[in-house]
Symmetry: C2
Subunit: 198 residues, 2 copies
Amino acid sequence: MYEGAVQTLIDELGSLPGIGPKSAQRIAFHVLSAEKEDVLRLSRALEEVKDKVRFCDICGNIAESEHCYICEDARRDATIICVVEEAKDVEVIERTGSYRGLYHVLGGAIDPMRGVGPDQLRIRQLLARLGANGVKEVIIATDPNIEGEATATYLARMLDTMQVPASRLALGLPVGGDLEYADEVTLGRAFEGRRLID
Amino acid sequence: MYEGAVQTLIDELGSLPGIGPKSAQRIAFHVLSAEKEDVLRLSRALEEVKDKVRFCDICGNIAESEHCYICEDARRDATIICVVEEAKDVEVIERTGSYRGLYHVLGGAIDPMRGVGPDQLRIRQLLARLGANGVKEVIIATDPNIEGEATATYLARMLDTMQVPASRLALGLPVGGDLEYADEVTLGRAFEGRRLID
């Protein structure tokens, strides 16, 4: 245990995800010897995120005003909605530069073990968006794991009753990967999803 | 890249030791969904450390007033000084509960490759403490690596000219360890330092 303020900082840092007691101590000592101005920049950045950042009223992505920069962008194709679990997934897809439609952030995936059902996700808001606008396709980009697949199956069924075409991202070998190191499930999906070469 | 405040926070977090871009993003998203009050506690803890914490005028340990709680404690044995590299080493030794003397924090170890010589460390202050008080022994507890050993050798020579007895922490097998997993250097030191059983 350290004296007052240092121990308080170690405790606060240790409550962040992925930061154990050793890292918390290391960071606290870094803070101790850092320039005051640098530390103030960090503490202000923490407060600003809480003050300024909210979630987009339309898609649930992070935003600094009512709508996020993607929903605000008139050049985006409003007839396609890509459904993702988390706001960070939006950034991952944006980085590919290959998608020009809009997004819908669910805020998680269906996970009965953790008490997350469809009502805890932003599914109702998604269906409302489909009713109002001329959406031609919903791309379901939930994670390729049990919860993500369950969510995708649930969404596909809902979309089917609403007669909105739904698609799912392709599963297969990662580009630049090595066949030898692919797990059997992925390799199996790569076989199922194989395409004829023209 | 995220919008304004979120990216600023990710950048600031990423400048902390041991926090890469992925962890910084993870923490930023945790902050986004955390209670505002919890985030304010963290940002205040950061600022308080810079406002309140200083280094002890005597030993260089962290302190919230002129002197640290160890130097202030009249029950400590002021005739023994344990020399360590960093303030965190003080806490590690305190946790053993087996040392009742005072400390002296050097602020690092001699490391010519990084431009750290004796003048960059609090060695002058250590020698001043020895001159003034009735110090009977200096325990050199620098790290058991090249820089720590070089520092220990340098200090031992200085203390010898001042005729102050110096000791070095024992090197050997870790308690609870397995002989099989000890590295050769440690095992060699354990042989050199063997003691006769009474």
